[in-house]
Assembly symmetry: C2
Homo-oligomer: 340 residues x 2
DNA sequence: GTGAAAGCGCTAACAT
DNA sequence: ATGTTAGCGCTTTCAC
């Protein structure tokens, strides 16, 4: 084989090439590939035949240039450590593909805002931007808003009161149910392991949790921050379990930390989960139901949540209502909060 | 606020708009945004000022149209269940961003080939296609090859002997080390839990494992297929553990199945991991080192592997060597194979 | 139903 | 160093 042949990447056939081969105009080729365009059956067939022969594929970059939209959806994933986001990404990707869209995915470093990458991805004229637990600066958010680039927050609400759409789980409600459930189970010294205090998601969960405890006349919970990471969760668990007034239950702001806390309690402190220390999380990520963890949690139903994201991505009207959609999940009572 | 204003998505400013405001030619604007272009400092400043004022951002679709390349890299993820791929995706995304590229991600349904989505993504003139444990048909692979679209297989080798690049872990070597390690630990009735038999990755691991056992004069292992999924792994574990000649150790083709098997052994069969049943995996995914699993495994070092992927993505020459890169990991001896 | 022609926003010669 | 010009591959009028 001649290596030099491989060095030259052949430029792919264009609509013009196809037109010439089919003996029609270039416009006809375009029509043949445009569903619903007015073109005779015979012409379309001629075109398609030529296209197949040449291996022609319409260039979407050119099409996007004209249309002003790219069918590209920017997707930012913060907190990539958290396995919760893999099924979410899969669902989103599947649904986008089905809708003829594509996801331009990038990850943001935890704790940093995603401004840099977003500026970058905006150059592709993405139709919308889905932010999964990622932060961006107020300035950039405002810029997107001004430029009419729809921002959709997933599992996170914007920190500012700019008009922006979001799809979140039922943070307050779910956290409240967890709180009541823990009290029902007989736990009394209950701790909250939080995420960053500037995260709206965290604050809603904490708020819902505290309120539930108060309403039942229980003492306010002690608190430790685990920052939604594994290491943070482990450190926070150690801090809590080392206290003289050790809590008898911990509600963690997400499952990922809850599992970390459970492992610390079990393997470092030798505690029996459930009986000696109740642990609950939030998300119902796949691992939560594994027998190793059997974690009580409040579910964030990925399917329905992504349904709503897709509506916001696809339906301009819905988007412009700047809805703050809350998708309810359900309390998943499991062994990690069973005292008996 | 006037709702009608929001309905109209303003078309973003073009280089022309900037040129007019700055009092220069449109080409000057292009040069101002092209690193290394010959342009006077003063001109560039004028341009930049105007650009900032208008909120101008070069349209990459237009640029790509001219250049013939998009800086877009297609990334297909098969087996999205497996948490191993989240860190991989993160690393890849980070590295691509750093290189000024972007990932067009989509997921392929397990067991199906990704032809449909790939055909689709090819329309964006992606510079390369990275396949992570996904399958595609021979026809499509050949087509890509013919069209000069570089295909890079990650964690998987092509099933055919078309000249294509791949980056994989040291499957045979690693599996061999696992096999010898199990024998050293005193296990004798050793089973292999495999992935699909048409997966080269699976076959390499099985081959390396079998060979190691044979070389030590051990009996050939029994085998059960777990298809690399959680459900499959659990079913296979049940089948193995229910046998009258129950194995005393199981090597699973990936960590994800190994963890599933461990849970079945522990929670359904009441076996003590390590002492009563040795379990080993492959990948060293994050969960493997969690105290709950403490899984013996052979690592696939994500960083170095992605390094090699990036070389193939960025360096035409390397790509054309169609290298089959094998990145060595290391045996991670942990509690799941400790008999004592 | 079809072709000719204009132009999406940019880069890359080519002049000057 | 800068402006002018010609496209990149397509969609979309506009005639016919």
């Amino acid at each position: 084989m001649d290596r030099s042949l491989k060095r030259i990447r052949p430029s792919p056939p264009s609509a013009h090439d196809v037109a010439r081969l089919a003996g029609v105009s270039q416009a006809a080729v375009s029509r043949a590939f445009t569903p619903g365009a007015s073109i005779a059956k015979a012409t379309r067939e001629k075109v398609m035949e030529a296209a197949t022969e040449l291996g022609y594929r319409p260039n979407l970059l050119a099409r996007s240039l004209i249309k002003g939209v790219s069918d590209l959806i920017g997707v930012v994933i913060g907190n990539t450590q958290n396995p919760f986001f893999l099924p979410v990404l899969e669902e989103l990707s599947t649904r986008l593909t089905r809708a003829g869209k594509h996801s331009l995915v990038f990850t943001a470093e935890h704790g940093h805002d995603a401004d840099f990458q977003i500026e970058d991805v905006l150059r592709y004229r993405v139709d919308a931007l889905v932010l999964m637990s990622a932060s961006l600066s107020f300035e950039l958010a405002e810029k997107c808003s001004r430029e009419g680039i729809p921002l959709i927050f997933f599992n996170r609400r914007p920190r500012w009161d700019l008009p922006m759409a979001s799809v979140t789980g039922a943070n307050e409600k779910g956290a409240g149910e967890i709180g009541r459930h823990l009290l029902e189970q007989g736990y009394r010294r209950i701790a909250y392991m939080g995420g960053p205090t500037d995260s709206p998601t965290n604050n809603e969960r904490e708020e819902g949790f505290r309120r539930a405890l108060e309403q039942q006349g229980a003492e306010p919970a002690m608190r430790e921050l685990g920052y939604l990471t594994r290491e943070g969760g482990m450190a926070a668990a150690r801090a809590l379990l080392n206290r003289p007034d050790r809590p008898d239950a911990i509600f963690c702001a997400n499952d990922f930390m809850a599992i970390a806390a459970m492992e610390v309690a079990r393997h470092e402190f030798g505690l029996e989960i459930g009986r000696e220390i109740g642990i609950a999380g939030f998300d119902d990520m796949p691992d939560a139901s594994w027998p190793s963890f059997d974690l009580t949690t409040y579910s964030q139903p990925i399917g329905p949540m992504i349904d709503r994201v897709m509506e916001l991505v696809l339906d301009l009207d819905a988007r412009e209502r700047f809805e703050q959609v809350i998708v309810e999940g359900a309390l998943q009572k499991r062994g990690s909060t069973r005292r008996g």
